[in-house]
Amino acid sequence: MNPARGPHSLALPPAAVTTQRVHWTDRIGHLALLLIALALVVFLAAPLTAILTQSVEGKDGAFVGLDNFITYAQTPALKQSVWNSLWVSAVVTVIAVPAAFVFAYALTRSCMPFKGLFRTITLTPLLAPSLLSAISFIYWFGNQGVLKDAMHSLGVASIYGAPGIIVSEIFSVFPHALMILVTALSLADARLYEAANAMGTSSSRKFFTITLPGAKYGLISAAMVTFTLVMTDFGIPKVIGGNFNVLATDIFKLVIGQQDFQRGAVVGLILLAPALLTFFVNRSVQRKQTSMLTARAVPYSPSPSRGYDAVMTMYCILVALLMFAVLGMAIFASFVKFWPYDLSMSLRHYVFGLVDGEVGDAFINSLKLASGTAVLGTGIVFVGAYLIEKTRGMQAVRPLIQLLALTPMAVPGLVLGLGYIFFFNYPGNPLNGLYHTLTLLVMCTIVHFYTTGHLTAVTALKALDAEFESVSASLKVPFFKTFWRVTLPICTPALLDIARYFFINAMTTISAVVFLYSPETKVAAIAILNLDEAGDIGPAAAMAVLIAAGSTVATLLFMVLGWLVNRHTQAWRRPAAS
């Protein structure tokens, strides 16, 4: 017997590796995979690369190395902005994260009543553009604000500037931090608490030895996300920042005001840094968080304790009231005839300010943008996730798509928008015609919010049996048929979640699209900025309220749709009637 062919020989892989022939139906999948990769390259990788190249080019397009960075570092005004951005973000993080932690703790670890209601109330800021809170605070504490004197007595001279940015940001980042912390605190293993109780551990010791370490990663994640959101937010500092410069407003002034793309690119890269850091910390934190909870863990359920539950309820009522005060003021002010002199109710701002001012079209544009993003985005994201998770072949393209699908999470909208200008506004680009169109706004918004949709789709797909595709192949049923008959119907709840997420975010986003609109494609959130800039704060408030109303109606419609679809496609989840 030839020793090389003996069963125990340590043969190396032969040079010619057997490859499998590709079935024609699988070629369709490969083509779709390539198209998704191409779309992500054109609408994500290329714009980001354009920022990098801009940052090392001079005005004439010649390579100048790090000159732009050096010039930037030598400009005192810009250095001031870096410092402003950093300390404001830090202050917001230090206040908002503990506040959200207590709220999340009340939601998950107490027997407080009305938990669902409290949770819904605190998530409402997500339905409006972040700058709604800034407009509201102007009405409360601005030059003609209701509580201006109370603010003065506290020693704050003016709401315009850092104080306004800080309070508005706390309000708008609260729901983001809250969601992360609720998730972290829900992942509790009751057995640890039972063991501690069996050993007679005090409540405070349980908190510091079990609860806090368990929520550690959630806290880190919430702090990083909060810091980055504040650092890269554009709307709030624009509206209430006054002369207080931060990086996000600088970038706008440099690029739109002074057409200084090179220095704009430098600021963009500076903004990218904390976002990238957050991204990587979050990834490693998530891995640790999930590994903490084993499949055998018993979910923790709190037991009633009157005094403690009452304190928690009081706290949550207080937070909810503050939320109402902010949201309510914007709604109230949008109906007031002539602030602050004539407080009678009227639709003046809605009728004259918006419809006659032709900004009503902006709202229609927003609806178009949101619908387009929801439909197209959900399709692309789900098909992309499906092809990655459930099909075979094209191994070279897969890592690229996976990387690009996760990248948007690490790219602030402002930076993405900047990349779009550089790339699509470049005269030599054959796709130049897309610039200023609604199509480009849709693509930009899809890419901006791609990662969350992608992860939702991946989670839903991973819950399906991994062998569905193998079984289909053995039964000679093409993959797309199984996709249509099995995968898609099972995943409809996830699809609706993704569509709703895209829709709401497209309604409220400002940062990426602020660089890309033309007068014809201006969206509602941008119109708020323009109205505010023109001093029309009443119509601005009206527009913000209109967006919030639109998002709310959309959310309700999605709930109804979800209910209808579930009745149709999820019958199999219900136990047998007989």
């Binding site: 125990h8 020989s9 057997t18 569905f468 193998s470 053995s474």
Partner: protein, 367 residues
């Protein structure tokens, strides 16, 4: 006519085996998962791939299915080279441990899934589905959803779906491991009798030796990516080809011994008669099944009888696993004794008894 042609005609005279694997290697990076697998599966045969987890048995099944691709080697199915064909172009039905029933489709739709794609008329599909549901003993479940059936019922439906299109080969990937013990025993006999009735060539992957022994025509014992032995269940059990097979299939006492003369095996202080001991002076590792050490019948003057003392009794029901020590033996021995025998003889821990070693059943491998 060329020689090759003539040879082809000659093999055509007798139908080609259901499956021929030759020189199959599989590498995952630096890991050599399968090493030079050679195997022929005959038509209508029920073959089990048996081995511990990580031995490569599932990988081999997935290669046969085309769900993985071998690094090198060829696969012939009924004489046709399928080595490079995608799964959809091969001819097999498959059942997975997870059942992989489509949860949103009814049982009837699941079973008909592969038929719908074959331009079979609606009436024929209904007839075929009803026939299959009857075959697997669930005639009235067509309108239900998978989640409304028990695990064993779901696995029967998965089986019906896999054989619906009458494939030439049935692949079962640990089909019983997700079921509870009783259901497992019931279903393995059902699968076996169904397979025999249909005469469908079947390959089943399992890590459960009892399953393999009770169901298979032939067992392929695998370890570390290598086939250790291929044989009938009786051959695998009675004539294991390697120490691994003895250890993995059934229980065995392991004793170090020395062949002192032709027909004489020395174990500790004892010298036993042993017909198959031929190489004088060879030290051997002997493997002895617990049931090959018997307490009765022992006649006066029988050879190979030892005196032993009971050290520990593990109650298993009708039989007990008894650990005994025999003076002068290299190590303690494990034997099976029936519950009735133990109570008749009033045997308990510390009791002494005589045991006869059936040396013709000894398996020896070089130490």
């Amino acid at each position: 006519m060329t020689g090759a042609h003539a040879a082809a005609l000659k093999t055509n005279a007798r139908p080609a085996p259901a499956l021929e694997l030759s020189g199959i290697h599989k590498h995952f990076g630096a890991f050599h998962a399968l090493k030079n697998i050679e195997l022929t599966v005959n038509r209508g045969e029920f073959v089990c791939f048996l081995g511990p987890s990580g031995c490569g048995k599932t990988t081999l099944l997935r290669i046969i299915a085309g769900l993985e691709i071998q690094t090198s080697g060829t696969i012939l199915q009924a004489g046709r080279d399928i080595s490079r064909l995608p799964p959809a172009d091969r001819d097999y039905g498959i059942v997975f441990q997870s059942y992989a029933l489509f949860p949103n489709l009814t049982i009837a739709e699941n079973v008909a899934y592969g038929l719908v794609n074959r331009r079979v008329s609606r009436v024929d599909i209904t007839t075929r589905v009803n026939e299959l549901l009857k075959l697997v003993g669930l005639p009235d479940s067509g309108g239900k959803f998978p989640s409304q059936l028990s695990g064993g019922q779901q696995q029967r439906i998965a089986l019906a779906r896999a054989i619906a299109t009458s494939p030439g080969l049935l692949l079962l990937d640990e089909p019983l491991s997700a079921l509870d013990a009783l259901e497992r025993v019931r279903l393995r006999q059902e699968i076996r009798s169904l397979q025999q009735r249909l005469g469908i060539t079947t390959i089943m992957v399992t890590h459960d030796q009892e399953e393999a022994l009770s169901m298979a025509d032939r067992i392929v014992v695998m370890n570390h990516g290598v086939i250790e032995q291929v044989g009938t269940p009786m051959e695998i059990y009675r004539e294991p080809a390697s120490p691994f097979v003895v250890d993995f299939v059934g229980k065995a006492n392991v004793l170090e011994g020395l062949v002192t003369a032709t027909g004489k095996l020395k174990l500790g202080d004892h010298t036993l008669d042993c017909a198959q001991c031929t190489e004088t002076g060879r030290s051997v590792r002997t493997y002895l099944r617990p049931e090959d050490i018997v307490a009765r019948p022992i006649e006066a003057g029988d050879a190979n009888v030892i005196d032993a003392a009971i050290e520990k009794v593990e109650f298993l029901g009708s039989y007990c696993l008894v650990r005994v020590t025999a003076t002068g033996f290299p190590s303690a021995l494990t034997v099976y004794l029936s519950l009735n025998f133990l109570s008749e003889q009033a045997l308990e821990v510390g009791s002494r008894l005589k045991l006869k070693i059936l040396t013709e059943r000894l398996r020896m491998f070089g130490a």
